[in-house]
Each structure stands twice: as structure tokens, then as C-alpha cells.
Symmetry: C2
């Protein structure tokens, strides 16, 4: 249930986790980040690469720094509370780094959940949270179920249309588990633009259809899909509907920018997010029920010899352990770029 794309179309090397993190920290301090914020951002970028989400780890770091320089992200800003509706809190992200805002909102939702059983925090005017899974792992680590989602700039056509009008609006659902949390982190397009470009760079076909070519046919050719801009929503009409609903929920609850408004500028900034946390009702019962579900799921016979049925987060954990042991694979060109920053 997880899908890892290699990063082998450029020359790669392996870097220890601590070295990667230290390098991010150095660059952010040079950008006048406050030390604690620099430390937190550096950790999140390094952890994303460590967990195999290279697109939102090292590979995205230069763009993040560029956004800081352009003033699209304000490293000095703090989220401020705008309103509360009962247990729902509405925050303004004030264009602070998206990861720090998302981390903060998850903390707030966890605190509300610990007090009231559940909590919901909506934030507007924030920035890209990088890997959504980060905040699922955070909620689960705090003993909570997490249901988090974000809107984005328009990337996917609605079902029946050809022009992108929907964000790929990632949805994260996390369940705490002592042996390794279960964390789903799924965008509403079958493949992200980053993944399509990776396949294109590798001269590889997609393993499954990822969009339409310019003739309107389902295609596994990443280049044809990039040219047509017709990325496939997951489950055809269903993912299209779900992406729309998530934008509605984010925009209504945060009273912030919708995908429509975000798309007015060509650079994604000022997005909205929702963080719902629910306290685990009973650790022991939950653990028993969770293992029952995973065990049953894994009794399905694999469709290929030696294949395994993985739960969401299982491959992440495997990649994490391997990368911590062997070093984190990085693209040499990007690594050198960051070192020269």
C-alpha cells in the first residue's frame, strides 16, 4: 500500500542523517532563522529524506530557502488565534514556515483531544507542510488518531474536465501503534507532478495509468501526461469529488484561501489546513483490534511470488531503519547545491 520511486536518474550518494540535518541547520541559521525554528525545520527536512520521501526532504529544501528569500515564507512569523467555534480553533498562519505551523496545529489538536476526547484546529494563510505524514506520525506518537488535510494550488482537472481546477489536497490518517504507527499519506492525484517528472527523467513508463495524454486516452507515459496537464484523480470521479470536498472543508473551517484563490498567483502560498485529533479511547483494546485487522489483511495471498501486503507506514519504517543504518541516499547535484548555500 505504499509506493517508493527510486531516485537513481541522477548520480546519488549516501549521507548520514545527522550530517544532512546539520547542513540544513547551517543554511537556515545563515538565513537568519531563530535557532529553535531552524532546528525544527532542519529536523523535518532531514526526517522526510530519512523516511524515503525525498521529494519533500533534501530535494525540496532549495525551493524552501528560495521562498524565504522571496518573502513568500516569513521565518519570524508565529500563528495567531483568530476565533474559536466551540472546540474548533481557527488560526492564522501569518505565512510562517508551513511545517512549523502544521507541527504547532497538531500539538494544539492533540492537547484539545487529551482534554475533550477530540479537537479540531484549522489554519489559513499558512504554507506547504512538505510531507503531510510528518503530522500523522506526530499525532500518533502523542497517542492520538490524526486526520489531517491541506489544500494546494490547482493541479488536477475535475472529473469531466480538462483544465486543472482542483488541488491534489493530501489527506493524512494516522493510528498509533506500539510496533510502528499506521500512517496513510495520500494526495488526490494518482501520481504527484514530482513523481511524474521523476519517471520522465528516468525514461520509465508509469506502472499504472497516471493521467490522460493529449488525445484524451488513459496513459502510462509521464511526458504525455505532463504535457496535457491532465493528471488522474485517484479512482477517477471519486478522487475528484474527494479533492473538492477537502478544499471545501479546509476553506470553510479556516475561512482562508480556497484552491481557486491560491491558484490566482502562480506560486503556491497562503494555503489552509485542518488537523483533527481523537484520543485513543483505550490503548490495550486498540492494540488488540489493530493487530486483528493487520493480521487478517496480511492473509491475502500476494499477487506476485514473495510479495508482501504492507500497511500504510510499514514501508516508511523499513526505509527509515535502512537509511539510518546505511545513510540517506541524496542526489549529488542537490546535495552540492545545498552545501554551497
Amino acid at each position: 500500500m505504499s509506493y517508493e520511486v527510486g531516485i537513481n536518474y541522477f548520480s546519488t550518494m549516501k549521507i548520514p542523517f545527522e550530517e544532512l540535518k546539520a547542513e540544513f541547520l547551517r543554511v537556515l541559521l545563515k538565513q537568519n532563522f531563530e535557532p529553535q525554528k531552524a532546528e525544527q525545520c532542519a529536523a523535518i527536512f532531514a526526517e522526510n529524506s530519512r523516511d524515503g520521501v525525498y521529494t519533500h526532504g533534501l530535494n525540496r529544501f532549495p525551493t524552501f530557502v528560495d521562498y524565504i528569500k522571496q518573502g513568500l515564507i516569513d521565518s519570524y512569523a508565529q500563528p495567531t488565534l483568530e476565533k474559536t467555534f466551540g472546540l474548533i480553533e481557527q488560526w492564522n498562519g501569518n505565512l510562517a514556515p508551513g511545517m512549523l505551523n502544521a507541527r504547532f496545529c497538531t500539538e494544539r489538536a492533540v492537547a484539545l483531544a487529551k482534554e475533550h476526547g477530540m479537537g479540531c484546529v484549522a489554519i489559513r494563510n499558512t504554507n506547504h507542510w512538505m510531507r503531510g505524514g510528518t503530522y500523522g506520525w506526530q499525532a500518533a506518537e502523542a497517542g492520538c488518531i490524526g486526520i489531517h488535510f491541506t489544500n494546494t494550488i490547482a493541479l488536477v482537472p475535475p472529473w469531466g474536465g480538462i483544465d486543472p481546477r482542483l488541488g491534489n489536497n493530501p489527506l493524512v490518517i494516522a493510528v498509533p501503534r506500539a510496533e510502528g504507527h499506521i500512517v496513510l499519506d495520500m494526495a488526490m492525484s494518482q501520481y504527484s507532478m514530482g513523481k511524474l517528472m521523476q519517471y520522465q527523467g528516468n525514461n520509465e513508463e508509469l506502472p499504472l495509468p497516471g493521467g490522460y495524454d493529449e488525445a484524451g486516452e488513459l496513459s502510462t507515459d509521464p511526458g504525455a501526461i505532463i504535457r496535457s496537464k491532465r493528471l488522474l484523480p485517484v479512482g477517477f470521479w471519486k478522487g475528484s469529488g474527494l479533492a473538492l470536498m477537502l478544499d471545501l472543508l479546509v476553506t470553510i473551517l479556516s475561512q482562508g484561501k480556497s484552491t481557486a484563490r491560491i491558484t490566482e498567483s502562480t506560486v503556491e502560498s497562503g494555503v489552509g489546513q485542518v488537523f483533527i485529533c481523537i484520543k485513543d479511547p483505550d490503548k490495550e483494546t486498540t492494540s488488540r483490534l489493530t493487530e486483528q485487522i493487520l493480521e487478517f489483511t496480511k492473509t491475502s495471498r500476494p499477487d506476485t511470488e514473495g510479495g508482501i501486503i504492507a500497511y500504510p507506514g510499514e514501508n516508511t519504517l523499513r526505509t527509515r531503519i535502512r537509511n539510518l543504518k546505511e545513510g540517506i541516499p541524496v542526489r549529488e547535484d542537490i546535495w552540492n547545491k545545498v552545501r554551497a548555500m
Copy 2:
């Protein structure tokens, strides 16, 4: 973003809404339903057919009555409160009719939301809620956002496997809107077993791949997919992950039967459901933001001449208006069966 399959492979006729409802009411009273419960169940079945969800309206009614006769559904039972965790309420459905339990849980979640901004009701030991959208429309009608989901018997293989181990676990998300609520109602399989059988009966190909054939190839042949039992999860690995997460949430929050346990008996009974409601923070702002999002989405050029981009629920409303005016299309054989009950 919605998909309606014709019901024209058997001889059909059109019946006024009130006649359909009255017939359901007559049969349920004959089954010794208490009058108020009979009225509520009859209304839900008739409304499901009225809204074009024929598979969970008239077509399902004989099975419902059969389950009553078999004792799988207890028409006399009432849900009972088991526990509360903060704002989360955990109910036992006591095998009462699933629609009445779901209606009740939605009412409870709405009441909690009106008091605290949000509420969550989990129920175990309940029965099939028929059309999930029913409770989305109910929440929206009460001025709340609704996020509802259920588990089911195993119907879909997990990604990488060939034996069904996941429910198709429908997810409903509803947003209130004066001009017509926005209601997504999606199961985690690309096509339900009922839809596949409808296409097979019509000797029609699926418009898009719906599963794997016995050779393990993606297929649009409904018969081949039914034989292989390899229904496609929406978005391949992604819907497989989402189906698993929904079963985890339902089972953990209701402390009830997982898909694993439901599947131990061959008949689906004693399922669990979760109902999360959030009060609309501000009707006027929500309305403005919602129209902004729908307008933008609809500016995508249609992929076929004259095509329209519909929001979830838009086609439902269109079908409702048409069916109320022209009568509800019913399969003559099933209609006659019900009349003879």
C-alpha cells in the same frame, strides 16, 4: 463527479414516490414494525430510489425484509449508550435496523456539534445503513458538515494481494448549501459488486477499469472481475490504504467488529460506523466560499462537447427532481415481488 448506471436490463416502469413509500410501509407493518420505525425505514428506502440510488432503495428492500425474518436485524431494538470519551459517544446498535441507528447517530452528532462545535458518535453492532449519503444529507440539512464512514464485509483485496480482505467501507462527506447540499458518498472499490452485476446483466463493458481478470490484467469486463473477486480499490494502492484506515477508525472508536470479524460469518451483520459532525462556523461566509470553489471548478473546459462538471450531489438533486416529477423507475420484477410480500 457522480456516476449513474441505468437500470434498464430488466423491464422497468415508473411509480410515484408516495406509492413506493406506502408499499414499503405496508410490508414493514406486516413484519410487526412499530409504526414510527416503519414510517422512517419506508421513507429512507423510497428516498434512496427517488435519488437514483436504486441499488439501496427498492432493489435492496427484499433483502432487508429477509434479514428481518432471519433475525439478523431486530426491528424492536434500540441503540444504547455504552461509554463516552470526552465528546465522543460510543453506542451499541443492538442489531437494530442500520438506517434507524445511523439516523439516530447523525442526530446525536449534530446535537453535540451544535453544543461544542463538533461531535463524534461511534456505533458498533449495527447493520447496513443502505445509502451512506442519506446521513450526509441529514447532517447538511441540520446545518452541519458531516464526515461519516462504515466498515463492511471483506469485498476488495488489499493492494498487492488477490484475496478480498478489505471492506469497501463507504465514506460520506457533506457540506450544507442553500442551493443544494454537496454530498460525496464513495465506496473504496471503484465499482460496487452491485454495479458490476448490473453491467454484466446489461452485457456492457465498464467505462473504466474496475478490477483484475483471472490473468491478473486490469479489466473492463465485469464478469471477469466478478470471477476473480479482484475488485479494484479506488486509486490502486491509495484506496486500499484508505479502506484499511477507515476500518481501523471504525473498529477502534466503536470497539466493535472489524472487517476481519464481520467476514467470519458469510452474511454481513454487526458492522460499525462513525459519525463526525462539525457545525457550520458562519453560514454567510461558508456560502460565499462554497460558491467561489464551485464556480472555479466549473470553469474547467469539459472533456466532451456539451459535458458538465458536476459537484458531488448535483446529479442526485437533478435525478430527485426528475423522479419526483416523472415517477421513480423501478424494476418490474422487484416491484411485483414487494407488492406480493
